[in-house]
Amino acid sequence: MDKPMNVFDIAGRAMSAQLVRLNATASNLANAGSVAGSEGQAYRAIRPVFQTVVDKPGVATVKVDRVVTSDMQATKRHDPGHPLADANGDVWEAGVDSSAELVEMIESARMYQNNVQVMQTAKSLLLETIRLGK
């Protein structure tokens, strides 16, 4: 970034990053319990990888570097009556840990709120500074 970073860039970009994390969690939860006919086709949880973006010493925001697929294995279940079952009568359930996803959801929502609070405080301080001497 060529312009110096201000508090709105810092909190705003952190909010975007947390939103990506929240979207990833929503995708994982939506796909929890979905089944596939083979291990390779089964859904696996996705997770964003956060990375610090440094502007100058001490002033830094965060970005999503990439979104990775977790190495959690799909669980095999014997269900011969299922339309997607393979020759052995097995289906694969998505590799998603629902409780971990819920924890992730709460944490990213809290972090998002924190950044909103930072932005609100910074905004009111700036507005008070503008009104100085009036």
């Binding site: 970073m5 201000n6 508090v7 810092i10 909190a11 970009r13 952190a14 947390q18 994390r21 956060f50 990375q51 610090t52 010493p57 001490g58 002033v59 830094a60 925001t61 965060v62 944490e107 990213s108 972090m111 924190n114 950044n115 930072v118 405080t121 910074a122 301080l125 008070e128 500074t129 100085l132 001497g133």
Partner: protein, 118 residues
């Protein structure tokens, strides 16, 4: 002593440092869930003493007074941001920013009245 210093005294530099510290703590809060991020802060007294010296600038004072936060309980991912600490310091800094603003307001009122000759 520059014109700015004689008008605003120490409060001009204090306001600049407070706003820089606001950005610093905002950075810590933004990186609260980045693995390996080390929280930083400034020693405000030291920075203000440095900035109010002869030919002292805000940016060099900020650099010399900066340090890393020592976490109360280190986390396993190497991140040293503790939300409770950061939020307390952020709130404290915001209140002190407002205090400095009201000092400046007082100075401005004094000067304005002197100019008007009331």
């Amino acid at each position: 002593m520059s014109l700015e210093d004689s008008l605003f005294g120490i409060h001009g530099k204090a306001l600049a440092l407070r706003s820089q510290r606001l950005e610093l703590i905002a950075s810590n809060i933004a990186n609260a869930s980045t693995p390996g991020y080390k929280a930083r802060d400034i020693d405000f007294d030291k920075a203000l003493a440095e900035a109010s010296r002869q030919q002292g600038s805000v940016s060099s004072a900020l650099e010399s007074a900066m340090g890393y936060r020592i976490p109360l309980q280190p986390s396993s991912d190497g991140n040293t941001v503790e939300m409770s600490t950061e939020q307390t310091l952020f709130a404290e800094n915001a209140v002190k920013y407002r205090t400095t603003l009201s000092f400046l307001e007082g100075r401005l009122n004094t000067i304005t009245r002197a100019l008007r000759g009331e």
